[in-house]
């Protein structure tokens, strides 16, 4: 096995190397999942409680108001819960990924492996939380008299994929920035919180007639996954132009994130 070590030259994704180190994805994810729920009484139940409690709060607070102002095709609790399930992939994935390189600095400084494994694994942790919560989502769905339609088999995996892609693009970008400028550690929670209100999680896009408002919501990379996911439980049609806009933004962020990360990763060990 021959290899070369040189100053960084041309850009590559390093997929071959990622495949060689595939076991590390598992170990990093597994470690984070284990550590996350160690010494907690409820353990995995936390992944389920969080979206459910948020749903209850919003239903009690705004349910009436939003349901009467906009014609929702599903009951409001289902609307909010489905939004939060996907939103949590993004919010916890982004905050984990954004801090992942700094949190693993001691490892990065001492050993080599493809650096992308670290933010990807931290997003996988959020994905596992999502799957747990999704299991609970199904009975709640039936309780409110809703069900999945035929396109769900296609729409749900697609929406998860898009949510992961959106998280991954921004997550790797922030992870790389964070190691150089620790400001992002403080920006991140605030940014995620603000973004929740620019995402159709708790209200639909058409709640306001303001064109600008609707346009900003469509630009949001999490708009597409949430819309697609809801498309699998409601019979009303999808707004394709809004979904495509969101996917485009997500793709652009994905490319920026990965390129910036790969460009700067060589110097992580010097900066961390």
């Amino acid at each position: 096995m021959e290899f070369e070590i040189k100053p960084q030259s041309k850009f590559s994704l390093g997929l071959k190397e990622l495949w060689e180190y595939r076991e590390l994805f598992y170990f990093f994810t597994w470690r984070d999942v284990k550590v996350k729920y160690k010494q907690t009484v409820l353990g995995f139940l936390w992944a389920i409680f969080q979206p459910i409690i948020m749903t209850m709060l919003f239903t009690l607070g705004f349910g009436k108001l939003i349901s009467t102002n906009s014609q929702l095709s599903v009951p409001y609790p289902i609307f909010v819960l489905s939004g939060f399930l996907l939103w949590n992939i993004f919010s916890s994935g982004l905050s984990n990924a954004g801090n992942s390189m700094v949190n693993n600095a001691n490892i990065i400084k001492k050993i080599y492996f493809p650096r992308l494994i670290v933010p990807i694994s931290s997003i996988l942790v959020s994905l596992i939380d999502f799957l747990m919560a999704f299991i609970v989502f199904i009975p709640v769905l039936f309780y409110y008299g809703c069900s999945f339609n035929a396109s769900a088999f296609f729409l749900i995996p697609l929406s998860i994929l898009l949510a992961v892609m959106a998280t991954f693009g921004l997550g790797t970008f922030l992870a790389a920035l964070n190691i150089k400028y620790r400001d992002f550690r403080y920006i991140l929670p605030f940014f995620i919180q603000a973004l929740l209100f620019a995402t159709p999680v708790i209200y639909p896009i058409k709640i306001s007639d303001n064109k600008w408002f609707q346009w900003i919501l469509q630009l949001n990379p999490m708009n597409a996954p949430i819309e697609l996911f809801r498309g699998s439980i409601s019979e009303s049609g999808l707004n394709y132009s809004s979904i495509l806009t969101s996917i485009c933004v997500s793709l652009i962020l994905f490319v920026i994130g990965v390129v910036y990360f790969r460009r700067t990763e060589g110097y992580f060990a010097d900066l961390a």
Partner: protein
């Protein structure tokens, strides 16, 4: 046969920020746009380092702190890229710059073995295959399912080394990790390392222990301020480190101690020849003296001691003035003292030596002052009949530490 590692003109530049910030913030970057850039300075941690290693070579890298040893290892381990130059390698590299990389206190010993092993580049199947041997080597069977945070630090180190000991890569890079655990475990580690090097794998090793370097490696690379003259035998590299380049002979050294909050401090050290002159060259056939000047500041019992060590790292002796003053009672009064020891003629063999001087409390072993690697002297063999123990050999045998004039008897037997 092709070299397993070709290192070609590797250089590494760091930019040092004179403001000494722990890390950058965005605001600094923005405000720096408008500032002149003269607060930064380039620093070459490595400059044009080249050498080739053949399969099975064991290389010891030697140099002072800051000579670029760790940077070289980091480049070889792909942790940081070189600024210029190229390395061609032919084999799997495993680097051990720290024991227990990736250990997590919340995970159990078993889980940490898997985590650490896979970070080091082991496959799950490899870890499973060696699992029992790893636990056995570390001696932690009983606690294997206990979280690591409940392990003693010694147990953690043993577990960490045990995982690393079962790496099967062709090239192994090790940074000062042998100095872990108690004496027994160190022996075990050294033994394991010896097995590894005998198994034909290539090892690159950094250590400040010349004993470890010399016993484990065949080749040596002496780094000084990021440069090297190239690969040599390990003996030559050690000699260069101690003798030619690093230390100058000095038979007189003054220390300017900071006396704040100190009980006793060292002021001066001198080496005197048999004529009581300060001299860094001593004959094997003459008595010589070490004179230590020190100050008792607070009136505690003080014992004066020194260690004599050979330049290849072998410690010759550690002695204290206890036969003259067992607990330091006689130096209890506040004031300046002069302590002298005579080292008799015809005892220490020719070679390069240095000292370490220690002031401590003979009752509770509290350490007061300590000076390392000082008073470098050469002991010379006079190469004539004065050297009564050696006789008329025309060569010196500097590998030996002692050249004592023993009392011999010889009588012809009548049967």
């Amino acid at each position: 046969m092709k070299p397993i590692l070709e290192i070609q003109k590797i250089s590494k530049k760091f930019r040092i920020n004179h403001e000494q910030q722990p890390y950058l913030s965005l605001r600094d970057s923005v405000s720096n746009i408008f500032k002149s850039k003269n607060t930064k300075e380039d620093f070459w941690a490595l400059k044009d380092v080249s050498f080739d290693l053949m399969p099975g070579d064991t290389l010891g890298i030697i140099g002072k702190n800051g000579a670029g040893k760790s940077t070289l290892l980091k480049i070889l381990s792909k942790i940081t890229p070189p600024t210029s130059g190229k390395i061609i390698g032919r084999g799997r590299i495993a680097s051990l710059l720290e024991v227990g990389t990736g250990f997590h206190p919340e995970l159990s010993g078993r889980e940490n073995i898997f985590m650490n092993g896979s970070i080091l580049g082991m496959r799950k199947t490899e870890i499973l295959k060696n699992f029992d041997a790893i636990i056995d080597f570390a001696g932690v069977e009983k606690f294997i399912d206990t979280p690591l945070k409940h392990y003693s630090s010694g147990m953690q180190l043993r577990l960490a080394f045990a995982v690393a000991a079962f790496l099967e890569n062709e090239i192994l890079i090790i940074d000062e990790v042998l100095a872990v655990g108690d004496a027994e475990f160190q022996k075990k580690c050294m033994g394991k390392m010896d097995d590894v090097s005998k198994s034909g794998r290539t090892i690159i090793l950094v250590s400040h222990s010349m004993n470890a370097i010399q016993s484990l490696s065949s080749k040596g690379l002496y780094l000084k301020d990021g440069t090297t003259t190239g690969l040599t035998s390990v003996q030559t590299a050690v000699q260069n480190y101690f003798f030619g380049n690093e230390l100058e002979n000095s038979a007189y050294q003054q220390f300017n101690p900071d006396t704040v909050n100190k009980e006793a401090v060292l002021l001066e050290g001198k080496i005197l020849n048999s004529k009581f002159e300060i001299s860094s060259v001593i004959e094997t056939s003459e008595d010589f003296y070490i004179e230590i000047n020190w100050r008792n500041i607070t009136g505690k019992n003080v014992t004066v001691s020194f260690e004599l060590a050979k330049h290849n790292g072998i410690q010759v002796m550690w002695v204290a003035n206890v036969n003259h003053d067992l607990t330091g009672e006689k130096s209890k009064e506040v004031g300046n003292y002069k302590t002298t020891a005579k080292i008799p003629a015809n005892l220490i063999n020719a070679g390069e030596y240095y000292f370490r001087i220690v002031l401590y409390n003979g009752i509770n072993q509290e350490l007061y002052d300590l000076k390392y690697n000082i008073l470098n002297i050469s002991i010379k063999d006079s190469m004539d009949s004065r050297s009564i123990a050696r006789g008329n050999f025309t060569a010196t045998f500097e590998n030996y530490v002692l050249l004592p004039a023993l009392e011999w008897t010889n009588s012809k037997l009548d049967f």
